[in-house]
């Protein structure tokens, strides 16, 4: 059941995008708020179980092999956060519906916000560090989409990617930290990890620093704090939700979660208190100098997040309870203040404090909400913020550290001043005091205010009221929850009497008022910091870009350069072992009779022909020379003697030459000539380089070949013998044919499929580019129509049937004579190619020839022929003798015959497809 807590928000996110109807869309936010409230109640209902039986632990297998599981671990701490997320979420959705009332993108906003809620619930409820990490990253991504929600705004985009880089970078550190943590404790699930104390573990420092990095970036701690004020470009509901109440507290959550395992080490205490205090003071100082309402709130949030980190870092968990109270208190006042800022912006069109004033009468609801939430933020009795400040001061007092105490009081008084600025200057200061726009914030004035629904303030009002209600009912509402989330005893009181903490609190308020009253003086001070986080960030990004440019400059973009480097490396790696081997081997040359002499001659011929094809500038001559080399190789095969191979080699060689020639006819002469002129590369050095690489690789391969020949298995091997002895059993006297169609039949089957795929590949690449170029460049080249003379037409007409008969003969007598399905397919293919060249593609009956169909039938037949024996209990590709069929003499019909037919159809279809696609791309039909 409980996974629903995480999944339902995601489901809502999907459903809300599809919501039809204007009315449904207008009221969608009420629905989503209702869902959030239901989830809130669900979590509440879990509390008694947690109290009675301890944490709820659930585990679902994910990938069994890797021992991965999806775990949930719901204890008091998780429940506390889940309540905040769903509760604040309900208020924020209510508010968002009115804030974005007229925005066409509001459904997208709901979907993103809802998906974020699911991810955030995933972070706090997951019982497994890996699941936690995934959800953690998801919140970063949704935060990115929400900060950059106004994608047309350059500043929003920059702020979004800045936030993503910072939190994502921290996420990477966190991932390493979590994996180390899992390895150190032997388990990735919290129920195991939390029972251990790793402060003596050798990896403790590494784990702690990495987890701190993840938490500090997420929770906007110094020096990573700057992304949060930048993130204020997000729509205000998102700022109120993600960037004050929930996501930025994920880091706090993780620190609190890890404190049983890591908090006993000195590094934890030093790191957290130092960073927390710096962030706390820096945020508070910067907040009061902000002129943008959201900026003020953002820095105040940074300051309070620092306070929470500081509290979690106090030794012996002294600050833990204070941190829990602080988390709740902060969420209940800061998100309403954000929403009020948004409402002010909505109504007046600006968020600049200097332009605002006297809004008390115009916006009484907003003013009331701001006062209520502001009093809580300032820590005035009887609001939850007061309690939070009291326990903060008490915890600090307990640590007996004067420095800590001064810092906390200073930041508390600055916070009071910030509240006064927010509430007084916006709502109570006479509107007449509104003076000219403050210098740098002119840009915010771009849009004008518009009327807003009074219902807009329902959400923030309720949350702010909760700050009062929970404080009044502290012992019933907050104390049990905090007790459940904390390891030790907890007792909270609204009023402790006139003790030291209360006195310090009063001092802070008084100091805050003084700071507020003297604001005219210190606002005039110009404070310039030489290096801010933002500047450092942009400097870093510029450096990264520069490094990228530098790497890019080393890319020549020239294929031959890349190949030369790659092949050169191969050659260098080959040459050492090759030279060693060649030095230790005695080469012996033995010649047996005239056959070997002929082979040597043919070898020399083929090498000479290859040299010629390299030297010829013209492509046609080169292709023909290459054909000669291929025929010579075919001759060598014939002398082996291997008539089957020789026949295939010679036919394929012919086909390859035909293919090159028809392709050449489709590429304009000038283009080819230009490339051919560059035959020796771009200069002498390039040529030397290429020769060096070729010699290196050639020597290496030659040495390998010699080793292979010298060490080849000789007569005593039984493998070829077995084939020779058993060929007769499958009714085939051609042993090579028997191997192709029977012994190694599966190999052949895959081979014809690969061949067909190559044909389809040719078809696809040419089809895809076909529409991109204009028709005019496709006129049939003169060379093609020129060969259509009466003589060639007669030849083609005569040759086609003759070739088909030859193909048929190859096919049917494949078992006992040279030639087989391949040769039949190639012979047929060449004759059809000739036909097309002479008669063109448009005319005559061959148009009906559907090569794709032939390929399909061929492959189907091959597969059926292979699978059929399985049905009668036989083996895959088992030999099957169909006995005597009334057919020409000497023919024996078996399953291998069927296989040959399948090979023929596939190869025939593929060859036609290749030639068609290359020579006549505009004729490719939609398949």
């Amino acid at each position: 059941m409980e996974p629903g807590l995480i999944l339902i928000p995601f489901l809502v996110a999907v459903l809300v995008s599809w919501l039809p109807g204007e009315t449904a869309r207008r009221w969608a936010h009420w629905g989503i708020a209702g869902v959030m409230l239901a989830l809130f109640i669900w979590v509440l209902a879990l509390l008694p179980t947690i109290q009675a039986q301890g944490p709820i632990v659930l585990s679902y297998t994910w990938v069994e092999e890797f021992d991965l599981s999806v775990d949930l671990y719901i204890d008091g701490l998780a429940a506390l956060f889940a309540l905040l997320i769903t509760g604040i979420g309900a208020g924020v959705f209510l508010y968002a519906g009115y804030y974005l009332q007229d925005d066409p993108r509001k459904m997208r906003f709901y979907a993103l916000l809802s998906a974020f809620t699911g991810s955030m619930l995933g972070v706090v409820l997951s019982g497994n560090v890996l699941l936690l990490f995934i959800c953690w990253e998801l919140t970063s991504i949704f935060s990115f989409t929400l900060i950059g929600f106004d994608g047309k705004n350059q500043a929003a985009r920059a702020a979004a990617s800045q936030a993503l880089v910072i939190t994502g970078g921290g996420g990477l550190a966190l991932l390493v930290g979590l994996i180390l943590l899992g390895s150190a404790s032997g388990s990735f699930s919290f129920s195991e990890i939390l029972s251990q104390n790793l402060s003596e573990h050798p990896w403790y420092a590494g784990i702690t620093i990495l987890i701190m990095l993840g938490s500090f970036t997420k929770s906007a701690q110094f020096p990573f704090h700057f992304w949060l004020p930048g993130g204020m470009t997000a729509p205000t509901p998102a700022s109120a939700f993600l960037h004050s109440a929930t996501m930025v507290k994920a880091g706090i959550y993780l620190l609190a979660r890890m404190s049983p395992t890591l908090a006993d080490g000195g590094l934890w205490v030093t790191g957290l208190t130092t960073v927390g205090l710096i962030t706390m003071l820096l945020g508070a100082f910067t907040a009061i100098r902000q002129r943008d309402l959201k900026g003020l709130l953002a820095y105040a949030t940074v300051s309070w997040l620092g306070t929470l980190v500081f509290l979690l870092g106090l030794p012996h968990g002294e600050g833990y309870v204070a941190a829990m109270v602080g988390i709740i208190g902060h969420a209940l006042y800061k998100s309403p203040l954000f929403m009020v800022a948004g409402a002010v912006d909505h109504a007046t069109g600006t968020r600049i404090i200097d332009k605002l004033g006297g809004l008390r009468k115009k916006m009484p609801g907003a003013a009331a909400t701001a006062i209520l939430a502001g009093l809580s933020m300032a820590g005035i009795i009887p609001l939850l913020g007061f309690v939070a400040k009291e326990v903060l001061l008490e915890s600090t007092l307990e640590s007996h550290n004067t420095l800590f105490l001064i810092a906390v009081v200073a930041s508390a008084s600055l916070t009071v001043a910030a509240v006064l600025i927010f509430v007084w200057d916006v709502f109570f200061r006479p509107a007449a005091a509104k003076h000219e726009a403050h210098d740098a914030h002119e840009a915010h004035d771009a849009h004008h205010g518009h009327a807003s629904s009074p219902l807009m303030l329902v959400g923030p009002g309720l949350i702010a009221a909760a700050g009062l209600v929970t404080a009044l009912g502290l012992e019933q509402l907050i104390e049990p929850l905090v007790a459940l989330a904390s390891p030790g005893e907890v007792s909270l009181y609204l009023f402790h009497g006139f003790n030291t903490a209360f006195m310090l609190s009063l001092t802070a308020v008084a100091l805050g008022v003084v700071i507020f009253l003297t604001r005219r003086i210190w606002l005039g001070w110009s404070l310039t910091t030489p290096l801010t986080g933002t500047k450092a960030y942009y400097g870093f990004m510029r450096g990264l870009n520069g490094a990228g440019d530098f790497v890019l400059r080393s890319q020549s973009g020239k294929l031959s350069h890349y190949l030369a480097i790659m092949l050169g490396v191969v050659g260098v790696l080959l040459i050492l072992p090759a030279s060693q081997y060649l030095g230790s081997t005695n080469l012996t040359f033995t010649f047996n009779g005239s056959s070997d002499f002929m082979k040597a001659v043919l070898l020399v011929l083929s090498i000479a022909a290859i040299i010629a094809s390299i030297r010829f500038k013209g492509h046609l001559l080169a292709a023909l020379a290459l054909g000669v080399a291929g025929y010579a190789v075919g001759g060598i095969f014939l002398l082996e003697p291997g008539p089957d191979v020789a026949m295939v080699q010679i036919l394929v060689e012919t086909l390859a030459a035909v293919l090159v020639i028809v392709m050449l006819s489709r590429i304009s002469e000038s283009k080819r000539k230009k490339a051919a002129d560059a035959i020796w590369g771009s200069g002498k050095n390039i040529l030397r380089r290429d020769i060096l690489v070729s010699v290196l690789v050639g020597l290496g391969v030659g040495a390998f070949a010699i080793a292979a020949v010298v060490n080849r298995p000789m007569r005593d091997t039984t493998v070829p013998d077995w084939y020779l002895n058993n060929a007769g059993q499958v009714g085939v006297t051609d042993v090579v044919g028997a191997m192709i169609t029977d012994f190694r039949g599966a190999d052949t089957m895959i081979e014809i499929i690969v061949f067909a795929m190559a044909a389809m590949g040719v078809l696809t690449v040419l089809y895809l580019t076909r529409q991109k170029t204009e028709k005019s460049s496709f006129q049939v080249p003169a060379s093609l129509s020129q060969i259509s003379t009466p003589l060639t037409r007669l030849a083609a007409t005569l040759l086609l049937p003759v070739a088909m008969v030859i193909a048929l003969a190859h096919l049917l007598y494949a078992g006992s004579a040279p030639g087989d399905g391949f040769t039949a397919g190639v012979v047929g293919g060449i004759s059809v190619a000739l036909w097309y060249q002479v008669f063109g593609y448009g005319g005559k009956r061959l148009r009906r020839l559907r090569p794709e169909l032939l390929i399909g039938i061929g492959i189907m037949l091959a597969i059926l022929n292979a699978v059929a024996p399985l049905l009668s209990g036989g083996a895959f590709l088992q030999h099957n003798d169909f006995g005597d069929v009334p057919l020409p003499a000497g023919l024996h019909f078996t399953s291998t015959t069927l296989f040959e037919i399948a090979i023929f159809l596939t190869v025939f279809g593929s060859v036609i497809t290749m030639i068609n696609a290359i020579t006549n791309p505009e004729g490719i039909e939609e398949l």
Binding site: G557, T590, V735
Partner: protein
Amino acid sequence: MNTLFAIATGIMFGMGIFQILRRDLIKAAMGFYILFAAVNLLFLSVGAYDGLIAPYVDAAGQTSAQPSDPLVQALILTAIVISFGSYALLLGLIAVTSRRFRTVDSDEVDHLKG
């Protein structure tokens, strides 16, 4: 004799590599074809038998003299067909390149250039 084959394989392989390094894409494709031929020759030379007759058997499964090795021949046969398939695909890609980039000089297809 087979040693000679091995040396020829090395020479042909080197020449194929040289062709592949040409800027002219058509020549480079031909380089691949030379490599295919070289490898097939190597296959042939590592056969177990130096045969006198083609590997055909009579109805009783007997041969009259020493046959050549059928195994390497079957492998070469498959290799020839597959290498033709890849050659055709290469030519198809070159045809596409020539159309899209209006050149068959690989140096002018420099979209990776910094």
